[in-house]
Amino acid sequence: MSVRHALLALLSAGPKYGFQLRQEFEASTGDVWPLNVGQVYSTLQRLEHSGQIESDGSAADSPQKSFRITSEGRKELDHWLRTPPDMTSPPRDELVIKVLSAMRVPEVDVRDVIQVHRRYLVELMQMWTRLKEDEAEFDLTLALVVDAELFRLDSVIRWLDAADGRLRRAVIDPPIPSTVPLLRRRIVVRR
């Protein structure tokens, strides 16, 4: 999560005070990302140092100090908005590693391990979905954040479902050694 760019986005609508930025940051993320005051001010300092924002020059920690975005800052913000985050490298997903490891442990049924995680993830999805129930109080920002969480969790559950299906069909054998380097070569990602 780039606090720096989120603050630039807030300032793009007009000059603001530090305390105001903190409030608006939390509101703009559906109140799910609390931010402490120190973090706001240290980030603002860095932005000012790099010429992406300007202040009115009052004392550094004064709550009355106001900030505005510079043209440099606007350029940086636009560039950031349009740059895809790095999703290319296969993440070292802890859950994937747990499932792969479970396949190697003789006394563990890997499908039971999968079910433990599946249940946990569905329970998490239930909690997020409950936030949707009261549609009247459900603002747009929160709706987008909740959807993002639900789709993220859902994608993991889908993977677990697919893994469970594969395991049902396959007899778990140690991998044939020659296929391992081949697979590794295939999923190498250029940086």
């Binding site: 606090v3 599946r118 329970e123 997020w128």
Partner: protein
Amino acid sequence: MFQDFNLLAGLTAVENVSLPLELDGVPAKKAHAAGMAALEELGLADLATRYPDELSGGERQRASIARAVVGERHLLLADEPSGALDSTNGEAVMRMILAACKRGVAAVVVTHDAHLASWAERVVFLRDGRVVDQTVTPPSPESLLATAPKP
């Protein structure tokens, strides 16, 4: 609630939806009003006088859902109720089922979709045709926000 909708081709959407009420002996006028209300809830009020073959797949599905939830039922069985629907309409269906539950209806939904399942109070997991697990009642959403990741 049927996966392949089972709407009667010779009846309009609203006639399809109010049919179960009429079969229960509800007067035609009252049944029609209840049918219209159910269609309206699923955003189909404008299409009430169309026949099933004049509706899209998703609209047919919503009409069949309206038919299932209309009237005073005690039990609602739904097999993949949001199969042909986009996520917005899928959510509308689950809200409708949830509203029925709040009126005292028991609903059993069978689905592969975790989004749908997460609307339920209790999720029971089947594996190879057997019940293997179920969720425990989740704590309130507030506790979720308290543990949300820091930026």
